[in-house]
């Protein structure tokens, strides 16, 4: 029953999107095309004025999936929205309390998922959400605007160091600085609120409610391997929640057919609160 419903719902959803043609698109410049006139996703990655790869663009999460343990040697297991450990063998190296909290959050039907409550998502949720995100690479900083919950991340690239942890205050999105190592954009983040933020929606790394704490040190290595594909290898180092650091892969594909981000103001008509008994029914 459950499976039938899930499959049916997925088909309905797929049909509602796959024939997309009417969204008012805007013509885009600088799109490499093949002899057939189609976008050439395998064309070389564009370069910014400083010669670095330009990560700018709108990105969707890749539909690629892999079996647990099947990533090629040296390549981190692929994370997916539903579960960042979906392709890992043996699951995440939880501290005991973190494993318990994840189980409790799932058993509670993800009642406090920040995504559902219109709070900023956890870093892996943002990377993996099916809604697109737009990267703006510019001198001194790179911005990522997430359509989901209209999140904004600022990654400073002006050479500043990370502030002392938690200063001037912990952020939902953490505090991020970036630098180039060859053609790889390396982003380090700290000063996250984590579960110490105090709300039940704080410290959700993914949809499984895998926790993170104020000790989280996140390292993301972005590589635009060609025009159409962006690979991000993400290391989660949070000794309060995990017994060892671990790394997962996120893959994005470019959106270059004229779609743009749509405004998404999550609190506009947030019936989830009413439906789960946390607000008075209007």
């Amino acid at each position: 029953m459950k499976r039938q419903f899930t499959v049916a719902a997925a088909i309905v959803a797929a049909l509602s999107i796959s024939l997309s043609a009417q969204w008012p698109r805007r013509g885009q410049t600088g799109i490499p095309k093949g002899p057939d006139g189609k976008i050439n996703l395998a064309a070389p990655a564009p370069r910014a004025a400083d010669g670095r790869p330009d990560l700018s663009g709108i990105w969707d999460v890749s539909p690629r999936r892999e079996k647990p343990g099947s990533a090629p040697p040296g390549q981190p297991p692929l994370a997916v929205f539903a579960n960042l450990a979906a392709s890992m063998v043996g699951g995440l190296p939880f501290q005991p309390w973190a494993a318990e909290l994840s189980k409790k959050r799932v058993a509670n039907l993800r009642y406090d998922n920040p995504d559902a409550l219109c709070f900023p998502q956890g870093p892996l949720q943002y990377h993996l959400d099916p809604q697109p995100r737009q990267v703006y690479q510019m001198p001194g900083r790179t911005l990522i605007v997430y359509e989901s919950n209209y999140g904004l991340r600022t990654i400073y690239t002006d050479g500043r160091p990370l502030p002392p942890p938690g200063e001037p205050q912990p952020y939902w999105h953490g505090y991020s600085i970036g630098r180039w190592e060859g053609d790889t954009f390396v982003v380090e983040s700290s000063s996250f609120r984590g579960v110490q933020g105090g709300l039940a929606a704080d410290g959700w790394l993914d949809q499984m409610g895998s926790p993170f704490t104020d000790a989280l040190r996140l390292t993301e290595r972005f590589r635009r391997v060609n025009f159409g594909n962006l690979h991000i290898d993400i290391t989660i180092d949070d000794p309060k929640a995990y017994t060892s650091p671990f790394t997962v892969r996120v893959e994005h594909v470019v959106v270059a057919d004229g779609w743009e981000l749509a405004e998404f103001i999550c609190h506009e008509n947030q019936k989830f609160l009413e439906m789960t008994g946390r607000a008075v029914q209007k």
Binding site: F5, A8, S16, I17, Q22, A116, F264, N269
Partner: protein
């Protein structure tokens, strides 16, 4: 060719299913074991984030009228699929298959919405049907 099409459809299915269903924990609000099939007249459409809602009056055999509310996808996915905020109109008679709210209220998550006058499936597929 057929295999190619199947792959394309599978990719589209995987890519798209999350987008339309991603936002909320369905299970926290609705009970998949409470299917409902209702036909009624739309009296309100809320084209809003994070989910579209519409309301309709359902007349029971004894003549009593109950107003039901239905949650649908987010506007962004439907806009990209070509639907417009006035694609469903007040006064439309629609048949809905849905899953009812856990709290037993007259709210449900709509899976299919069919316009009774034409048989068109609202907010599913593209509003402009491709050539067969």
């Amino acid at each position: 060719m057929r295999t190619g099409l199947a792959i394309v459809m599978c990719v589209a299915l995987i890519a798209a299913s999350g987008r339309a269903l991603a936002h909320h924990s369905f299970a926290a609000e609705f009970d998949e074991n409470k299917p409902v099939k209702l036909t009624g007249t739309v009296n309100k459409v809320e084209w809003t984030n994070p989910h579209i809602w519409f309301f309709m009056d359902v007349k029971s055999p004894d003549g009593t009228v109950t107003n039901w509310g239905f949650e649908m996808a987010s506007p962004n996915g439907l806009l990209r699929a070509g639907w417009k905020r006035d694609s469903m109109k007040v006064g439309d008679v629609v048949a809905v298959e849905a899953r009812q709210a856990r709290d037993g209220s007259h709210n449900a998550n709509a899976q299919t919405v069919v316009l009774s006058s034409t048989g068109q499936r609202l907010f599913a597929g593209s509003p402009v049907q491709p050539a067969p």
